[in-house]
């Protein structure tokens, strides 16, 4: 019992909170450093299809993205409601893909070029026609590694 009594005497002093800001700042810096702000604004509607057999994409610097889907509400007046392709920040045509792939290829080191992957971020209601065209264009540009971006689900419906 004497042990407990001693503890109570010591505990009557308050714990100093002086180091609390330091701890919080450490956390803050961690999150500030790890946060990646999205550099492209996506202008098309994106609802990814679900799949169970997904694999993670490694090395984000070696991935170029192609977004496909219906233009968002605010762009529909200009671009209509048919699915469109978006490369970087702008809407594009199928013919622009080859130049896009070439410019992406130029950005990376020569010995890393074989690992370049093209990620197709396609809305699930898109028709395959446009995707078939894109795939043909990618074959012509010999960007053969592709990835169909999907959500991970436990079972497909």
């Amino acid at each position: 019992m004497s042990k407990f009594k001693r503890k109570i005497k010591v505990g009557s002093q308050e714990i100093s909170t002086a180091s609390l800001p330091d701890i919080v700042f450490m956390l803050l810096f961690f999150f500030m450093v790890t946060t990646v702000m999205r550099e492209t604004t996506i202008k098309v509607v994106q609802k990814m299809p679900g799949a169970t057999e997904v694999k993670k994409l490694e090395k984000k610097s070696l991935v170029s993205y192609i977004y496909i889907g219906k233009p968002r509400q605010s762009f529909q007046a200009i671009y209509g409601t048919e699915p469109r392709i978006q490369l970087n920040d702008a809407f594009a045509k199928v013919d622009d893909i080859r130049n896009y792939i070439i410019s992406e290829r130029e950005k990376v080191d020569e010995n890393e070029r074989p690992f370049l992957t093209t990620s197709l971020k396609v809305d699930e209601n898109t028709k395959m026609g446009i995707i078939v065209d894109i795939k043909q264009e990618l074959r012509k540009a010999s960007a053969l590694k592709i990835n169909y971006s999907t959500r991970k689900v436990t079972a497909i419906e």
């Binding site: 956390l27 999205r38 799949a51 694999k55 990835n147």
Partner: protein
Amino acid sequence: MPRRPGGTYSAASMADIAFLLLIFFLVATTMDVDSGLSRKLPPMPPPDSQENQNEIKERNIFVVLINSGDQLMVEGLPMNIHKLRGEAKEFLANPSNKGNLPEKTLKDIPYFGQIAVTKGIISLQNDRGTSYGMYIKVQNELAAAVNELRNELSQQKFGKKFDDLNKEQADAVSDIFPQIISEAEPKNIGGNR
């Protein structure tokens, strides 16, 4: 204004300010990892080459067609998407060596020695009017069939899941069950888009 004694400000609110910033960054952080189904496109054939595909026997091809109404036809018969995985597994494994399922050839593979490897190829054809969601579902089921077969084999041989195998073991297993999905040049099955 009366000066504080000693001229110092209280740092007690510093924690609150930092917390506010912290919460902002916590909310703004998107930790989305990109994931999806990886595929390799076939290279473009050289323009001057003739179509010299050697004939593949009918029993060695598993034909999957998707029409513009997102309906599935497998080996000439309509099929529900939920049955596709089982059918594809049976086609690739051919456990009882049936005559209408693909042939096998004996191959030398490390860890396994002489083993019968299937000659089967999955051929996937879709229409321009097929929806992307359906296409991914079919791709997913076919990938799942191969992954399940690989998992069963590695479980049986090494007592581990396929993902936990080392590089050589994984290569050996994927040599036995390769992920071959051949996609034909697009056709316009089933009329207008």
